[in-house]
């Protein structure tokens, strides 16, 4: 899912990368300037990155209810589904890395044998939270996803092995699976939680990757932007690119679309503005009111609309 196709690679190399390097990002919007305005947090509150980046509720009342009224809503089916499919992908990628280290390059056949064992994630404990139909669709899609990613990894490894006869495990892992999944980050410099977790990060050209299973939304780019700012604050190197990976299942088939984007001045300002507005709302305990166009699967529907 996180690997780019040949066309996407070309796009990245010929378009996004040179453009992002040429583009002058205002220095005050670089994460490493977290100690001065506008990045310096105004309020002494820590927010999760998704709390800033998500705008599913048009007035952000969900955040108010959670933070001020302490309402604990159960995730809706789409949220749960997204969370579990994410986990499947993480499991497959981490298993592949582990197996390479375990068997070594010399025992590639053993790696293949074990890697081919179908990956089954146990979702049983979530069964009660989903309808029968939702649950079986989730199980089916998880299997499609795991199979797809498994064969993708095998193909990548084989491609590298035929080119690099003297390669060792560590290098093979970094070439075949060049992403760190669930990268843990401390966002406190920017007023974010200490325990952030970016879906994936590639080091070859610093790029934040975020996987989505729902409809594309404009504000999804705020997630990659937030992580880019945090990365810059921690490591003091520029992170100019983000990539949203949209996965969709249709008639038993997986389709993947990618939205590669430059983390430009505008996205950075948008993120900071959202952060400041949401922090203020919480700090001052301002109820933003019920939206006029609530989405019907909102987990807070009952709290707002009875």
């Amino acid at each position: 899912m996180y690997f780019l196709t040949d066309e996407e690679r070309k796009q990245l190399l010929k378009s996004y990368l040179p453009k992002s390097r040429q583009m002058d990002i205002a220095d005050e919007l670089r994460g490493w300037n977290w100690n001065q305005p506008p990045l310096e947090p105004v309020y002494d509150i820590k927010l999760a990155l998704y709390e800033i980046a998500n705008s599913y509720c048009p007035t952000n009342r969900d955040l108010f209810l959670r933070r001020i009224d302490g309402v604990k809503a159960r995730p809706n089916a789409a949220m749960l589904r997204g969370k579990l499919l994410h986990q499947v992908l993480v499991d497959v990628l981490v298993r592949a890395k582990k197996l390479i280290y375990l068997h070594g390059v010399g025992n590639y056949q053993e790696f293949l044998q074990e890697h081919k064992i179908p990956f089954k994630t146990n979702f049983e404990r979530y069964r009660s939270q989903l309808s029968e139909e939702e649950f079986s669709s989730l199980a089916r899609d998880a299997e499609i996803l795991a199979n797809f990613e498994t064969s993708r990894i095998v193909a990548r490894i084989q491609e590298i092995l035929i080119k690099q006869p003297y390669i060792a495990e560590d290098s093979l892992v970094s070439l075949a699976i060049p992403v760190v999944v669930e990268q843990k980050l401390d966002g406190s410099f920017l007023g974010l939680s200490q325990n952030l977790s970016a879906d994936a990060f590639t080091f070859s050209e610093p790029m934040i990757i975020d996987l989505k299973f729902g409809e594309p939304k404009k504000f999804h780019r705020l997630t990659t932007t937030g992580y880019a700012l945090v990365m810059e604050a921690i490591h003091e190197f520029p992170v100019n690119l983000g990539c949203l990976v949209y996965a969709e299942f249709k008639n038993g088939r997986l389709s993947v679309k990618k939205d590669i984007h430059i983390i430009d001045d505008e996205l950075r300002q948008w993120f900071i503005e959202e952060r400041d507005e949401k922090m203020r709302m919480i700090y001052e305990e301002i109820d933003p009111g019920i939206a006029q166009n609530c989405y019907d699967t909102c987990p807070y529907y009952r709290n707002c609309l009875g």
């Binding site: 453009k19 040429q22 205002a26 300002q269």
Partner: protein, 191 residues
């Protein structure tokens, strides 16, 4: 639609309260020495620019047009652009800035606004513009990206909202800006 000027975009980004003091609760502001000085430098620069080649803009040839008044009904925006270059069928807005700190965000979006006006004027897309930083004698190329255009439209909307709702915005976070601001005396809650 409320008609706005390109300088409003610049001012809004510097501090949204300036919009309030300009349109909702107008107060008198003094022309600072910095502004006068800037004007003189501009005139001198116009004179010099006329004789220079286009090399520093990475263009082989072109024609300079000075102080074009631009207006777009569609955007509800108007302004007078310092200079623009017409080169091989393309148009490049240039704004001269007298600042020691290099290009800033309010200058960038001022330029983007002019680029959008220039597009309406010539009916042609504008891909690049330049912020000419006078003390450095350097033109900084600025790409006019789709996101930057959306950002400007958003700013225009926010400015109109301040005017329509007559609500005073929060002060900006950059305390250094308040120190330099001509409206400082009117901002009661800024120490």
């Amino acid at each position: 639609m409320i008609k706005l000027r390109v300088t409003d975009v610049k001012q809004y980004i510097y501090c949204p309260r300036i919009i309030y003091f300009t349109y909702v609760c107008p107060v008198e502001k003094k022309i600072t020495r910095k502004m006068e000085y800037g004007k003189e430098e501009h005139l001198e620069l116009d004179r010099l620019e006329k004789r220079r080649t286009f090399k520093r803009y990475s263009l082989s040839e072109g024609e300079r047009r000075f102080h074009q008044y631009l207006r777009s009904e569609r955007l509800g925006l108007e302004g007078k652009l310092d200079m623009h270059i017409v080169s091989e069928g393309e148009y490049f807005p240039v704004e001269f800035k007298h600042t020691r700190k290099g290009p800033s965000l309010n200058h960038k979006y001022q330029l983007v606004s002019y680029a959008m006006l220039l597009e309406d004027y010539y009916n042609k897309p504008v891909r690049y513009g330049f912020l000419y930083i006078i003390p450095e004698k350097t033109p900084y190329p600025i790409q006019i990206t789709p996101n930057a255009r959306i950002f400007v439209k958003d700013v225009l909307e926010k400015i109109r909202e301040i005017i329509l709702k007559e609500r005073i915005p929060r002060p900006n976070q950059h305390k250094g800006r308040c120190t330099d601001c001509e409206y400082r005396n009117y901002c009661g809650d800024v120490s």
